[in-house]
């Protein structure tokens, strides 16, 4: 596997729309500003910046976001 391919191996962010309540906690505490609230729903704004740190999942009160 080449380094470029490793770089391209982007994280997968799953947001469960039936669970997300749009509280914005995940986006505010994401260290690299990956996430953005649109209306009442969390969305991914900049996937490339995600480090898979899991902070969003760990502080989400609603089991609504997972990063693989």
């Amino acid at each position: 596997m080449t380094e470029t391919e490793t770089e391209k191996d982007l994280p997968r962010i799953l947001i469960y729309e039936e669970l997300c309540k749009g509280c914005d906690i995940c986006a505010v505490f994401c260290p690299t500003e990956v996430l953005e609230l649109k209306g009442n729903m969390m969305t991914v704004k900049n996937l490339e910046a995600c480090t898979r740190c899991q902070l969003c999942d760990l502080r989400c009160p609603d089991f609504a976001i997972q990063v693989f």
Binding site: G22, C23, F63
Partner: protein, 290 residues
Amino acid sequence: METVTAAKKKKKEKPVPFDYSNYIRKGKLPHIWCPGCGHGIVLKCMLRAIAETGRPNDDFALVSGIGCSSRTPGYVNFNTLHTLHGRALAFATGLKMAKPNLKVIVTTGDGDALAIGGNHFIHTCRRNLDIVIMVYNNFIYGMTSGQFSPTTLPGMIATTSRYGNIDPPFDVCKMAEAAGATFVARGTAYHYGELEKILHEAIMHKGTAVIDIIDSCPTYYGRFNKFKSPADMMEKIEKEGTVSVKQASGLPPEKLEGKLLRGVLCKKERLEYTEGYAKLIEKAGGSKPK
């Protein structure tokens, strides 16, 4: 042989999110809590702490009273008991005495545990009954629309203190320790990793374990007191309003003014109540509870 630097290796390792499905009852989500309510974060920390024990779900019983925090047992895949306001510890005591091998965890609120249930709280601690008491402390009665509680800070606005609260608050940890609890700690929803560790230690402890868990009620406490958002509450109350025991040891007293200490604040050994009871039964020649 391929040499991989530690940094590269770390980048390649993909952290896997925790799988809660074994612990949440099917079809129960979304839960009833408001957007940004801290109770959901606390619940998740508790589930990870339980998972870490490696014990089967059936070894645990979750008991609660009434309140938003007391809704916790309704969502989880353990033995559960949702009881009366303030009386979680009375029910939990009965359960533990009848089934001493169950690991009993009480999920309760600042109102449930310390106002209407204050008497049960101090006497459970005094007995050193082997129970984990998780006080979801959001400084307010959330469920009944925001009356002040025994932990509401002076000056804060509640439905019942429109001009600011004048009651001095209880320090949950000092009270628990003075009453005789043998494990006393404080955590916050913001410091999820610390809280998970503390909860695990509390579960492994034999005796009454009290954890004062600072979390947020954005709907009432937040709105009444002009916090901008749930994240703003976590930042100002949970992060800036607390300091870990370790950090505190290096700080002058004026830097600690108005801050709550986080971490394990008291841990000691003392005869546990069901063990004392078993000894008494033996002495009297009776048969042991199973």
